[in-house]
Symmetry: C2
Subunit: 221 residues, 2 copies
DNA sequence: CAATTCAGTGAACACTCGTACTCCGAACGG
DNA sequence: CCGTTCGGAGTACGAGTGTTCACTGAATTG
C-alpha cells in the first residue's frame, strides 16, 4: 500500500525532488533566507503555485534538505570509530571519510555549513538536532572502547560533540579551500584530531575533577 | 586637518553609524543576503538614496560591520595568552574573556557567526582574513612560550587556528544557548580547551614526525 | 561675503516577490 | 466505466525591491 509505485505519487515525488535539487543548486551561491519561492520553481521547471503542493515555505524546503543531507549519514561515523586499529589510524580514516563525502556532495555540505548558523530558525534547529544525534552516537561508540574507562557520560558527550563540531568545521574548510588546497586542509584536520586524541589519552592523568567547584564560583567581575 | 571635528564630516559619520547600528539590529533575525537596502535606511531614519553616500552595496556594509566587530579585538587574545599562570588558568581566562565579549555585544558576534559561512562572498572573505590574522597572532604568542619548544611554525599555526576556531564555535554556542544555559556552554568549552592543552603538552611525545609521508601516499580508494 | 561642495531628499522607474484565485486533465477507486 | 481526486497551469494583485535623477540647503572654502 505504501511502497508500491502509484504513477501519481511517483510523479509527485519526482517534482518534489526536482524542487529540492534546484534549490540546492541555487543555494550554492546564496543562503536560504534570500532564496525565493519563484526562483526555485523557475529552476525546477514548474509554476510557482505547484510549490505549495510540496512545501509550505522555503523554510520547510530547507528542513527537508537538512534531512536529506544528514539523515542518511547516521551510523556512518560511529561505524568508522568502531573499526579496528590504533587511534591514529582511526583518525586518518575519519578524516578520509569526511573528505570523501564532502567531495562527493559538496552542495549538500555547503548548505549545512551555511545554514547551521543561518537566518532561518527552523532550519537551524533541524541541523542542531541532527548534529546532536551525531554527537550522541559518537559518544556511545567511544564509550564502548577500552580507552574510555573512567570517563563520565558528560565527558563522553563533550568529546563526541567536539568530534562532530570538528567534522563540520573540516567540511566547511574543505569547501572554502577548493580542490587545490584540499591536501593542506586534510593534513591540518588530521593533526588537530591527533591533538585531541593525545589529550584524550592523558585526560585522566591531570586535574580530572574539581571542575564543578570552579564552575560554581566564577569571577563575577 | 584630518582629525579635527568638521561639522559636516561629523554628521556623515553619525548617519553612517546609524546605518551600521540599524543593520546590526535587523541582522539579529535574518542574514545579510536577505537584508534590503531600503529596510536598513528605514530603520536608520534616512532615505534610501542616502545609503549610497556611505556604501555601494549591502555587501559593503557587511564588510564594514566585520571590521567594526573584529578589528577592535586584535591583540586581545594574544594578551590573555601572554599572561602569567599555568595552562589551566589561562584556559579559564580565555573562555571568560570570550564569554564576556559575547555577552556584551551579542549582535556583533551573532553576525560574525552567521556570515562566516554565509551567502555573501566579500563578507566571508573579510571574516576569514580577520580570523586568519587572529590565528597568526595566537600562534606568535604561543611560540614565545617555553612550552612550545620544538614546535614547528606550521604546528603553531595549526594550534593557533584551532584555538581561534574554537573561540568562534564557543561564541556561537553561547548565542544559540541563551543565558540560561550559558554556564553549561562555558563549562564544556573549558573542558574542550583543557583537552587540547593536555594534547599540546604531550604533542612531542608520540608519533611527532613522519606525517608528510602519510600525506603523500594517501589511500586513493 | 559670495561661490561651491555635498549629505540627504523626494519622486519615479522597472522590476521581483509571495499568495489567492480558477481551471485542466490524467491518475485513481468503486 | 464513470465520478472523484489532486498535481500542476495560468492569471492577477498588491507590496516591496534596487537604482536613477534632479533638487535643496547648510557647511565649507577662498
Amino acid at each position: 500500500m505504501s511502497h508500491t509505485a502509484g504513477i501519481r505519487q511517483n510523479q509527485k515525488l519526482k517534482t518534489r525532488q526536482a524542487l529540492l535539487d534546484a534549490a540546492l543548486l541555487l543555494l550554492e551561491h546564496q543562503s536560504l533566507s534570500s532564496l525565493g519561492l519563484r526562483e526555485v520553481t523557475r529552476a525546477a521547471g514548474v509554476t510557482p503555485t505547484a510549490f505549495y503542493r510540496h512545501f509550505a515555505d522555503t523554510a520547510a524546503l530547507g528542513v527537508a534538505l537538512v534531512e536529506e543531507t544528514l539523515g542518511s549519514l547516521h551510523g556512518l561515523i560511529a561505524a568508522v570509530l568502531a573499526e579496528t586499529g590504533d587511534s591514529q589510524e582511526r583518525v586518518d580514516r575519519s578524516v578520509e571519510v569526511i573528505a570523501r563525502h564532502v567531495g562527493a556532495q559538496p552542495a549538500h555540505f555547503r548548505f549545512i555549513a551555511r545554514e547551521q548558523h543561518g537566518g532561518v530558525g527552523p532550519v537551524r534547529e533541524a541541523i542542531a538536532a541532527q548534529l546532536f544525534r551525531f554527537a550522541e552516537e559518537v559518544a556511545c561508540a567511544l564509550g564502548q572502547e577500552p580507552g574510555s574507562a573512567g570517563w563520565s557520560e558528560e565527558d563522553l558527550l563533550m568529546l563526541g560533540g567536539f568530534y562532530v563540531d570538528h567534522m563540520v568545521m573540516t567540511a566547511s574548510a574543505l569547501l572554502d579551500a577548493g580542490p587545490e588546497n584540499e591536501r593542506a586542509v586534510v593534513r591540518q584536520a588530521r593533526r588537530r584530531l591527533r591533538l585531541v586524541s593525545i589529550g584524550r589519552a592523558h585526560w585522566l592523568d591531570e586535574a580530572p575533577a574539581r571542575d564543578g567547584e570552579l564552575d560554581e564560583a566564577p569571577a563575577r567581575d
